[in-house]
Structures are given as C-alpha cells and as structure tokens.
Symmetry: D2
Subunit: 348 residues, 4 copies
C-alpha cells in the first residue's frame, strides 16, 4: 500500500484527486495539506467523500519532514513558483514527487522565465523531471522521482494532434488551436470572473495572446514532429464545470481522404485504451468523457481549403490534472498505469 500526500487539497485538482483515491486499491491519501482548511477532515471539506475511504483524513499544515515520514509519494497542487521552492527538499527526503504546476514542464529554463516571469534556479531537479503524459513517456515516468504533470490544455492538444504530427499529415507552420474549457480550470479561489453570475449563460475568450500553456504545447508538438513548431493557442471559457475541447486547425500536407486519416489515428493509438478515435462522421463532446481518463478524438477534412480539423475532448480535472497524476503515480509505484481507474466510466 502506497502512502500518498497531497499539498493543496483545497483546489479542484485536489478535490478530484481525493475522489479518485477514495476508490484506489493500493494508493491511499494518508496526508492532506492546506493552509486555509487545516483542522478539517477531508469529509468536512468535501461532503461528497463522507463514508468513503479517506473521508476521515485530517487536513494539516504542510511540514516536509513529517511528510517524508508519513508518505511515499507526494502530489503538489500548488501555484507555479511554489513548487520550485518545495521540490528540492522533498526529493532530498526521498519522496517521489508529482507536481501539478508548470514549474518542471518546460525543458528550457529561459522559456519558463519568459512566460512565467518567475525565477528559475538552475536546480538539478529540472534535469531529472519527466513530463507526465503516460501515453508518451510511460517508461520514463516509471523511473522518475519527479514528474511534471501536464497542463490541461496541453494534454488535450498533444493527444489530439499527435497522430497527425507523427505521421507528417499536417503542415506544422500554420497550426491554430482554438480551445474551450469549463470553469473549474480557473480554480477554486473566489474571484469575480468565476462567479456563477459572470460565467453562466456567457461565452468568452481569455488570456490572449500569450496563454502560458502555449510553450508547453509547442515543446511537445516540436518533439513529436521532430522540428520547431510555433502555433496560435487561444482559450475560451464555457459555462460548464468540467471539460475541455480543443479544435485544432492545420493544412494537410497531401490530399488525404478521411479514411486515410482515420486509419492513421487508429493505428497510432491502438495500444492505448484511454484514447478513443471517433469514426468518420462522428464528433466528440466533453460530456462523454466527464470524470474519466478518456480522450475522445474526432476530425474532419475541409477539402475546400485542404485543412484538417481535429477535435479532442477530455475532462480537465481528471485526465487533465488529478487522473493523469494518478496514472503517473501508478507507474512510479510499479503498478499498471490504469490501476484504480480501469472501471472509471464517464458520467454524462
């Protein structure tokens, strides 16, 4: 039985991780940390958890030494910049670490500094950090001591585009990602912008230009395609709680048929049960992935403009955050990647 700790239990990613761990057979949440919620139990904070395993866990103030004694692996759900301050000590304490923030996702410290406007001490941790997308890096994750859990938009974008990038199907010079997310992506901290009355019955873009997930997407796209890629990434806020759908536009390199594309997508993902390729004519939506690890991918060819349009849908809290972290945790603990999530059926 793995003893897991969670720093930052009061956010939605923390909430989702508590949900997933309540049903995990071999990783338990033994410690949950939060400055604001210390003193409560997990069940006090999240009434949905009551009567379920983990509900009685006391939330406490973080203490690295104590954490090292009581945990084997620690999930960090803290803001960018905070993780960098905590990780070296946690690694020194021999904890395995999964960081939800962006602090260790970007291989190039200069790009991190440029986009996050934060110092980026040249620590050794970055060198060893593994980008925690299990479909791409399972072997490395299994050996990692520090995993940088991918961002929600990058997860949907990378899984959506990978088959096209890898197979040279699209012209990588002119990629546009028009992304849409539910409001839980904005966090559980009260703000005017995320009030019910501001989000409901409304639709709007935000964070343009220059959303911080851009360089993360570009990094992984470039690695898959084997060349430097620059693209436009534009997020929008949808009046729903969970879910991301990315619409990815790119010119085709050849006049492929829809069947050609379908075949290549299916072939690329055939060993990955969490990736579901929609048949030609079908399109994904977010509801059919809700609460699960699935990434549903559909596409269409606009033959009048010779453009491929890929749609990829995920649950931003599960696949795009806590579930993905748990998949990484499984690998790091020598468990099958899908442990505790094999029967995680979406709830539309």
């Amino acid at each position: 039985m793995t003893r897991g700790g969670l720093v930052g239990v009061s956010g939605y990613a923390g909430m989702e991780l508590a949900r997933l761990l309540s049903r995990h057979p071999s990783i338990k949440l033994t410690k949950a940390y939060s400055r604001v919620e210390a003193g409560k139990t997990l069940g006090d904070l999240y009434p949905f958890l009551r009567n379920l395993p983990g509900s009685e866990t006391k939330i406490s103030l973080f203490d690295a030494k104590e954490c090292a004694r009581d945990c084997d692996l620690i999930f960090l759900a803290v803001p960018a910049g905070e993780a960098r301050k905590m990780v070296p000590e946690l690694l020194a304490e021999n904890l395995q670490v999964i960081d939800f923030s962006a602090d260790y996702r970007l291989r190039d410290p200069g790009i991190y500094r440029q986009w996050y406007k934060l110092p980026c001490e040249n620590d050794n941790a970055l060198r060893d950090a593994v980008y925690g997308l299990p479909e791409l890096y399972a072997a490395k994750i299994a050996k990692a001591r520090l995993v940088a859990n991918p961002g929600c938009y990058p997860t949907a974008s990378i899984l959506g585009a990978r088959a096209a990038l890898k197979n040279g199907i699209i012209d990588t010079d002119s990629i546009v990602i028009d992304a849409k997310s539910g409001a839980s992506g904005a966090g559980r901290k009260p703000s005017l912008e995320t009030l019910f009355c501001e989000v409901s019955a409304n639709f709007r873009p935000y964070g343009v230009p220059g959303h911080r997930h851009t360089p993360e997407i570009e990094q992984e796209f470039s690695l898959i395609a084997g060349k430097e890629i620059r693209l436009s990434f534009v997020p929008h806020l949808v009046p729903m709680k969970r879910g991301i759908l990315c619409s990815i536009y790119a010119p085709l390199t050849h006049p492929y048929t829809i069947e050609d594309i379908y075949e290549k997508f299916v072939e690329t993902w055939k060993y990955y049960p969490w990736i579901r390729i929609k048949r030609p004519g079908e399109l994904p939506d977010t509801a059919n992935t809700r609460g699960s690890m699935y990434c549903d991918i559909g596409f269409a060819i606009d033959d009048r403009t010779n453009r491929l349009i890929i749609f990829s849908a995920i649950d931003n809290l599960c696949r795009g955050a806590a579930g993905q972290a748990l998949a990484c945790a499984n690998l790091m603990r020598g468990l099958p990647v899908e442990t505790g999530m094999v029967d995680l059926c979406p709830m539309p």
Copy 2:
C-alpha cells in the same frame, strides 16, 4: 455471473443502468432492447461507454422467449401501463423482474387506477411484487421475483422522512413536500418543455396538484407511521441534469432540540452506509450525491413555528432509478446489496 437484460435502454434510467453495469463485477448486460435504437451497439448509442464492458452489446427488438433464454434477470424501463402487459409473461418464463415503472408500486389497485387512469388487471403479480427500497425491504427483495423499483421523488421523500415518521417526531396531519428535480427526471424523449432553451436559466413548478408520485409517497409514509397519511406533494423543475432535493415540512409533536432530532436520525440509519445524516447546521445539496447511491439528509427546527424541516438529496438517475434497481438486483441474486457500488463516489 448474472445475465441481465434491459428493456428501454434509450431513456436516461437505461443509460444510467448501462453505466453502472459497465463496472459491475457479477451482473452483465447481455441484452439491451429498444424499438428506436435497435441495430446499434450500446457504445453507438452512448459514446461514453466505448472501450468499457458492455459497449459492444447489440441493441435489439424485445422478444420475451429469447430474453428468457439469454437472461436471468430483466430490468424494465418502460412507461407505466406497458410493464403490466409484459410482466406476467416474463415471470412465467422464470425471469426475475425489476420494473422501473409505477405499475407494481401501489398496493391498492383502486388507487393505481385512480391516479394512472390505466386498467389494472387483477393479476397475481401485484400480490407478489416487493417495493424495491433496499433500506426498508431488503429481506423481501432478496426473495422477490418481481420488484417495483421506487419512483425518484418517493425515494428521496421516504428516506428523508423515515426517521421522523418512525419516531413519532412529526405531526402527520400536516406534511408538505416541496420537491425539486433536475431535467433528466422528465425523460429522454424530445419535447418542447425539456429543450435546453426552455429549461436553462428558468425555474418552475409542474404537475400540480396531483403528481402521480403522491400516492406512492403516502403509501410508504403510512406504512412507516402506522396510520393513514395524506400530504401535499409539489414538484419543481431545476435547470440541472441530475439531482433531487426534497424539502419536507411538518409540525413537531414535541419541542425537540436539534440535538434530539440529530440523535434519532443517526440512530435510525446507523447500519445504512448510503444514508448520510448532516450534522446540525449543515445542509445537503444535490451535487454531493451526484452519480451515487447516497441520500444526504439534513434538517432544521423552525422553533418560532415549531416546525421540522427536513432536506433530503439524491441523484435521481442513480439512487432514484438505476442504482436502486441494481441494489435490488444484487439482493435478488444473493449478492451483498452494495456489490458494484461500494466505491461509487459522488462526482460534484
């Protein structure tokens, strides 16, 4: 392994049952029937199911003989009136039957005729039917060949009021149940009233006076209290998909304190893990029960009017329909009631 059949897979209760059975260890959905969707697979109809057990099950036209050959137990998710036509033959074929409709819920055929305006042949089935509320009738359900799965509003009302009725806490002459439900309770059949544009950003009462769940609630309330009860039941439509919250008003028989009430509620339900009693000062909501079997019950005393107000919240599709049916199926098959649902964590 129990082979389960489902007639009426195209409604939301059918959808929910398919979701729950995709993760059940010992009951499988071997046959799914639907007039409109015949020919598709379950995964075609419900894309969220793809890659999960049951997804490949072909939907076909119902045939009682074939059903009897391929199934041990059959779930009927058909309209009131239809079940009565089908049940005798299914029982004759030695199938165990769980009926989602109201056809076998009311013990008194006269009351059924009066409220449902349907013929009520004096068949033997009614005599043997058991009301499928596991907390109240587990032993009988375990031996039943025909279970009448409770209505969604009655489930929330009966579980909510039981501790008060049983302990003589409330005056049973003046009970008001103001109930609120998400739109899935209205079914998956297209209608103007349930269009997104008619339901969203709107709130309204419906079906007053005389909603058909009234006699069902009165029957069970009367049985618990040991005397005839008449009450007012008024449902409302909430702009959300899943969830029911019932607000139950009744005068207190004595000047109880809030602690008295809490103690009696806890005592009444102490062996039932799906019933969660909120502590004094806490109130339930629907989101914390979503997708689960939990019934969350809170209450307050309005001491200025000496009235007890009970709030009970459930997921109308899971606890109020498919999940409850599955709990009954577990019992009928000799399994622990919570089989396949012990780790069904709500997803807020």
Copy 3:
C-alpha cells in the same frame, strides 16, 4: 430631469439600476459611487452599457455634500447597517433617499436588532420611512423622503399571498413559504459559495432556519391580514442568475373552488398591470418575468388536503430590487409609477 445618484454601483442591484436608468426618459444617473471601482466609467465597469446613456458617468468616492449638490435623489445599495449610518445626513441635505438595504424596512426596532444583530439608533428617519412596494403604498411613497426598498423574497411573497390574505381565503396559522432564487441574490462579491463551479448543476437550501427576510414578510403579511402572523420561510439556491419563485402553502379556510380563487385574485389585482394572474391550470415560471417588473402569480388547490398552493415569480434584480426602487423614484418625483418601464418586456 431628475438627477439620481447611486451608492454601491458595483453590486448586481446597482448594475440593474444602471441598466434601467440608461433608458429612462426623466431620471438620469448623474453620480455613481463605489469604493472599489472609483475612477472607472460605468461603461468600463459594465461593458453592456457602452454607447448608451450613462456609460460615460465617472464612478467616484462617495461624498455626502457633493452628492447633495449634484443629485436630487439617491439610491443606496449598501449593506444592512451601512445605510443607517448614511441616511440621516442625506436627509438633512434634503436628498430623497431610496435604501435597498433592510435598515428601514422593519417598523419595530426591536425586531430589527434581533434579526440583524445591529444597533438601531432611535433616529427619526425610521418613523418617516415608507415600505416601497408600489402596489401597496403608492400614495405614501409619493410623499416619502425615505423609502425602504423591499427585499426580493418579501416582494415575491407579499405580492403572491396578498389576495389570499386580504380575502381571508387562507388559514394564517400554518403558512409555509418555500422560496427559490437565482445566484445574483447572493451578490457580486466573490465567495466560494457563489462560484460557478459550486452553483452550477447543483441545488441547495441555505440560511435555515432564520433567514432575515422572515420578519419582513411577517410584518407585511400581518398588516394585510390584520392579525399577527408567524410563518416558516425557507430559501434555496437555483443554478440560474436571475429569478425568484416562491411556493406558498396554506390551508384553505373554506372549500373554495379554483374558479373562486381565480376570481378573487383577478379582482384584487385588476388595476395593477404588473401583476399577472395565471389562469387555472397555468403555472408561472421565472423566465417569463426576466428583466421586467412583472410578478406572475399562479395557484392550485390540493383538495385532498384542503390546501392552497400559490406560486409567485419575479426577477429578483429588477422587480425585487432596482426596478422596484425606480418605480418608487418615479412616484417620489411625481411621475407615473411605470415611467421608463412601461415597455420593459421580459426576455425569456
């Protein structure tokens, strides 16, 4: 042309007043005050206002002297307790005042102290304050210097119940008001409870027992019925922005028919175009009143329990706050009560 001022422009009631005044022919918003938003224009704060009258109005810090110089009438959209501190000076400056808070609604200072836990200096203002429900107090409002704008729940409750109370149709000893409101009633100040992710797809009671609108409802009910009334009032939060629906339960004093009731309701309200009585068999909803001054009232008789159930629906921001205040302002300025709102069509 009347020069109007508004203290507390940054809340939803302030927003709604700015919307309504943008189209008013003879009252203009010349001053808008807010601590947090000072320096912006109204159009900066509320982009929907841009290009409309009032959009260029600069938001500034409140100053009573300056306000007295630049305004004829002032709307106070400040928290309970704050208004009491400001009103005496404003009246001394010869301003007409409409207070959105509860500070001057309750005739009995002891009840105010008991429910609001605030000091209630024995100022003269209370003696002169008029409860600003135009259908009931138009003549007094027209002469008032201080109007206490009714609460949103009391508005819906009083208008809904008045015909029944006035005509002795219901037993006043056993009234239950089960009320439901959209989230804008909770204000525009960021809080966890009003985040989109906490409110959407959820339904819950709150503030029970003892919501502060209770004594206000009881006061006006008692005045209409001519006797002391105590009742149970329970509010719930609906996942929508605007709208209140109150379900009012009370025993009938006689076995009235539905036509009797309809006739009395129509008769009571025949000179009041903002009150729309639903025909027997019809029920109101919130969407059909959205953004307007209408109060839609429907009812049903539960003859099995001899209970009358009244449903009244309003827009909480317009009829329940800013629109009602504007109707009072019209009267105070010698204008027809409906000035600027005669063509205010609901937008479902």
Copy 4:
C-alpha cells in the same frame, strides 16, 4: 403605423420578433401565423408577452390574400425551401418581404443548389433581393421589396472581419472561423440533440465540415475584400440559450501594431453605434450583448505567429435574426434604422 405580419411565430426568431415589436412605436404585429399554434393568442404562446402590446393577437393559419389585405410588410420565419415557394406570391400582392431563411441570401443560384440541395427556380425575386445587413446595405435595403435577412453566424463573422478585410490587414488565403453558438440557434422544434440534458454541461462541435453558413460568409467576405475568398468555418454548441462568439484567425499582411489595428477598426465603424470596438487588452463576451443589436468586436495580435485574432460577439436571436430583420423593416418603411431599438440595452 405599419402593419406587420409574421409567418412562423412558433420558433425562437419569431418569439424574439414578437418581443421586439411589443415595444416598437410604429410597426405593429397585426398578423401572426403558425400551423401548430393557430387558435392561440401570442400571449398564450409566450406568457412573457401578456399585458404588453400584441399579446392579444390571434395566431392563425397563413393565407396570402388575407395577409396582403391586413399587412404592409411580412416577416417569413420559415425553413429554407419554404420561403422560395411563398415569396413570389407575396411580392405579387405588393407586400414588402423580409425572409429569415437562406433562400435569397446567396447571389449565385448554383451555390444555393449545391449547399442546400434544394431546387432554385430562376425566379426574378432573387435578382431584386437585398442582403439585409444594415451596416453594409442600408441604402439598398431602404428601396428593397425583398430582403434576405442574414444568418446568425454570417452576421457575427462579417461584422467582425469587415474592418480587417476592407483595409487589407489580413491574408485572405488562410482564414479560419471557429464559431460558438447558444442552443437557440438550433430552433424550438423538439429534438434529442437540443434537450436540456444533452446540451447542459457539455460542449461540442457540429455540422463539420460544410455548415451551410459557409458560402454566405464567403460571399460577403469576397465582396468586401474584392476577391474570391475560401475559408474554414466550424460551429460549436455552447450550453447557453442566446449568443454567438466567432473567433476569426488570419495571418497579418504586415507587422501591424495593436494600436494600428484598433485605429482601423474604430475608423471603419465610427458611424455605426451598434458596433462597439473593444480597446486593446479588452475582449468581448456574449452576455454583454444579450438581447440587443450590439456587435462587440475585440482582437489580439499573436506576434509570435504574425496572426490577427478577431473576436466578435452578438445575440443570435436579436442581432442575428429578429432584431436585424426589424432594422431592415425600419429602413424599408422609411424609418430610422434604430427605431424601436435605440434604447435596447443588453441584459447580462
């Protein structure tokens, strides 16, 4: 006073037109036609209209002769293909006609046939039809006997892109329009896809590739740019009732600064009060245009990819359908274009 008729009152565009005409000073809805709703009054069909002008109008079966006698101008809210059958007779009866369908929007009958798979009799009406976008064609509309009311997506797209197209700011070879609409765009006819339970808490693309608004957008883009334009247009469904937001992507022709662009947008639209250009750094949303004629336009430069991203937001029912038709009607009747809508404040 102009006597207006409306064929197809039972759809959402018809509903919105009834709302707008209830407050119009010089066009009245004298006749409303609907096959399904004949016999009811407008107030029966749309309770929000009760007590307002037009509420008592009887809905009847359409009859061209009678219509010609009782109306000066007729609004056709009927499906594509139906209008073509009706228009010649209506014109022959000397009625002015505003057609909400696509039947007369496309100048080239071949393109109409190709996209709509409908016959396109070579009637003279098409030659005389004017595309009813008042900002572009006011003079022609004023003289037209037949106006083709623009589609909702084309309205948002054309208004959004016009300043960029007209000023040669963008490369017209590589335009992508990623569009998002509320559910009212799908109509008021019951269907599974538009049920509350299917749309709420969900986001999905639809109608790709080849949504029928594509050629309409291309036609007007080409006319503005003075050259043939082909583009990708992809619509998505947002869980809200009203509103469209289009995100338009195109490469810049030169390294413009954000201030350059802002200046050109402001200059282009300076005489058009319904077009509101967001300042650099501000972005539009749909809520701030709700229920109004405003088109809010914002933009950003992605200088890493040298791409301009334009966001344009409208209310699909008002600006995208009924309000725009009414603006055309105003022009056709010799009234100022904004008659009856000058004080139409958005309601967020």
